[in-house]
C-alpha cells in the first residue's frame, strides 16, 4: 500500500505519513486546550500565547520537513549536494529550538567539536533534519520517567568516517538494535520507540528519511556519555571555510 520511499532500511511513505499524522494530534491538542484556558477560567491572561506559537511552529516544521523528505527521496538519484557548514547549521537549528526547549524545561546546549570545513549535503535538508530531530528529542527528554536535569545537546565533531552531527541527551534506553527495530515498526506499532518516547516518534523518522536521501541515514551515537541520533557527512573538498 502506498509508495515505498526507500525500500532498503528506511520508512515507507505511507507509514511515515501515519506517524506524522499521529504525532500532530499532540501539538494541535495543546494549542486547542491552551486557547480554551481563558474561556474556562475567565482569565484571558492565563493563555500562554508564546506556548501556542511554539507548538504551532514545531508542528508546521514537522509538516514541512516531512514534505521535504518525500521530495528529496523522490530525487535521490539526482540530488544536488552543496558544501554546507555543519556548525552554522547546528547553531541555527539550536536557535530555532530554544523557545521550545524552554517551554519543556529542557536545557539546550550546542557543542562544536573543533574547526572543520564544509560537508556535502542538501542545505535545507540538513537543517530540517536537525530541527525535526531536535523537536522530537526535546519532547522525549521532558517526558522521561527519571530524576535529574533534562538536557539536550546539539553536537558536531570529526571522526575518521566524516563529520558527525547529532542530537544527544539522557536516553538510556536508546541503542542501535532498538533504533533498527523501530524503523521497521513505523506504521505498525503505535510507539515504535516506546522506551524513548511516548508518541509515534515522527520527527526522528522524518529526519532519517531526509538524511537517507543523502545516503547519510541516522544512527545511534554517543557524545560525552550521552546517547542520541546522528548523521555522518563527508567533508567537501571543493571549498574550505576558515
Amino acid at each position: 500500500m502506498g509508495k515505498v520511499v526507500d525500500g532498503v532500511g528506511g520508512v515507507r511513505a505511507d507509514s511515515l505519513l501515519l506517524s506524522v499524522a499521529e504525532h500532530l494530534k499532540v501539538p494541535l491538542t495543546t494549542i486547542a486546550r491552551q486557547a480554551e484556558l481563558g474561556q474556562l477560567t475567565g482569565q484571558a491572561e492565563l493563555i500562554d500565547a508564546a506556548a501556542i506559537r511554539t507548538q504551532a511552529v514545531a508542528a508546521l516544521t514537522l509538516v514541512d520537513s516531512y514534505l521535504l523528505g518525500l521530495e528529496l527521496m523522490s530525487k535521490q538519484a539526482s540530488l544536488e549536494l552543496e558544501p554546507v557548514s555543519v556548525s552554522s547549521t547546528l547553531v541555527d537549528a539550536a536557535h530555532d529550538l530554544e523557545q521550545f526547549a524552554r517551554q519543556y524545561r529542557v536545557e539546550l546546549e550546542v557543542s562544536i567539536g573543533g574547526k572543520f570545513g564544509p560537508v556535502m549535503c542538501h542545505p535545507n535538508g540538513l537543517r530540517a533534519a536537525l530541527l525535526s530531530l531536535g523537536f522530537a528529542l526535546v519532547e522525549a527528554q521532558a517526558s522521561q520517567d527519571m530524576q535529574g536535569p533534562r538536557r539536550v545537546v546539539l553536537a558536531t565533531h570529526r571522526t575518521p568516517l566524516g563529520i558527525v552531527a547529532g542530537v544527544y541527551g539522557r536516553y538510556e534506553a536508546l541503542n542501535s538494535e532498538r533504533w533498527r527495530a523501530a524503523l521497521g515498526l513505523v506504521g505498525t506499532a503505535r510507539q515504535p520507540l516506546t522506551n524513548l518516547m511516548p508518541g509515534s516518534g515522527a520527527g526522528l523518522f522524518v529526519a532519517d528519511t531526509i538524511m537517507r536521501s543523502m545516503n547519510a541515514q541516522l544512527r545511534v551515537g554517543r557524545y560525552q556519555q550521552q546517547r542520541g541520533l546522528a548523521t555522518t557527512l563527508k567533508p567537501s573538498s571543493q571549498l574550505q571555510f576558515v
Binding site: 527495530a181 521497521g184 515498526l185 505498525t188 506499532a189 503505535r190 510507539q191 515504535p192 516506546t194 522506551n195
Partner: protein, 229 residues
C-alpha cells in the same frame, strides 16, 4: 523444608495483609499455584523491567498446609519485552492471560502453560500479525478445553467435500452444506491447521492469510462465545 523448583508464568497478583502479596502462577508440572510472596509490597523497583508481566521465571517455593504455598525465590528466565512496546499487543496479551486464568480454574495440564508461553512468543514477534495470534490462541484454547469443532464431516456425517459450500451449525458444532455458504475448502483447511497443535508462526506460511483470517476468525470467536454461555 521441601523446596520445589519449577518454571512459572504469573497470571495475577493480589495484596495480602500489610506487606505481602499472593501470586497466582501457571506452571507446566504443578498446575496453577498460589504462592505468598512475603514483604514485597511497595518495593520501589516493582515496575523496573516489567518482569512480572509477560515473563517466564524459575520459581522456588515451599508447599503450605492449605492452598497457598510460600515463594522462596524467583529467577527471570525470559521476559518477552517487545510485547509492551506496542499497546495493542499489551492489551491482547493481558486479555489472553485473563482468558487462560479463567479457563484453568481446576488443575490444568502442562499444555496450558505451553500455550501461554507460545502466545507470549507470538506476541513478542512483530512479524506475526496480531489478529493471527488472537485467532490461533482461541483455536488452541478451544482444543485444549476439548471443544474442537468437527472439521471432517458435516451434520449428516458425510465427509466435507472440496467443491461444496457450507455454513456452520453451532448446535451440532460442525458444518452444514448450504448453496450460498460462506465456507469452502480453503477456509476449512485453514481452520484445521488453526486447531492443530503447533505454534502461531506456522500459519504465516498460508497464502492469502489476511483474507482467510477475516473470513474464519469471527467464526472461531463465535464458537468461543458459544461455550461461555
Amino acid at each position: 523444608m521441601n523446596q520445589i523448583v519449577t518454571d512459572g508464568i504469573i497470571l495475577s497478583r493480589t495484596d495480602y495483609g500489610e506487606a505481602d502479596r499472593i501470586l497466582t502462577l501457571l506452571t507446566p508440572d504443578h498446575g496453577k499455584l498460589r504462592l505468598m510472596a512475603k514483604g514485597v509490597r511497595r518495593v520501589k523497583s516493582k515496575l523496573a523491567g516489567g518482569i512480572e508481566l509477560f515473563s517466564v521465571s524459575t520459581i522456588t517455593y515451599v508447599k503450605g498446609r492449605g492452598e497457598v504455598g510460600t515463594l522462596v525465590s524467583t529467577r527471570l528466565v525470559k521476559h518477552y519485552g517487545h510485547i509492551v512496546e506496542d499497546l495493542d499487543r499489551t492489551m491482547l496479551g493481558y486479555e489472553l492471560i485473563k482468558q487462560l486464568n479463567k479457563a484453568t480454574e481446576d488443575h490444568p495440564e502442562p499444555d496450558y502453560f505451553n500455550l501461554l508461553h507460545r502466545a507470549f512468543e507470538a506476541l513478542d514477534d512483530f512479524s506475526i500479525p496480531l489478529d493471527l495470534v488472537h485467532f490461533w490462541f482461541i483455536a488452541q484454547l478451544l482444543r485444549l478445553n476439548g471443544h474442537t469443532p468437527n472439521l471432517q464431516t458435516d451434520v449428516d456425517g458425510h465427509k466435507l467435500q472440496a467443491g461444496a459450500l457450507y455454513e456452520f451449525d453451532f448446535e451440532a458444532m460442525c458444518f452444514r452444506q448450504h448453496p450460498s455458504g460462506h465456507f469452502g475448502a480453503t477456509q476449512v483447511k485453514f481452520l484445521r491447521l488453526g486447531f492443530t497443535d503447533h505454534v502461531a508462526k506456522t500459519l504465516m506460511q498460508i497464502k492469502g492469510i489476511t483474507t482467510l483470517l477475516a473470513e474464519v476468525a469471527p467464526l472461531v470467536q463465535k464458537i468461543q462465545q458459544f461455550y461461555k454461555h
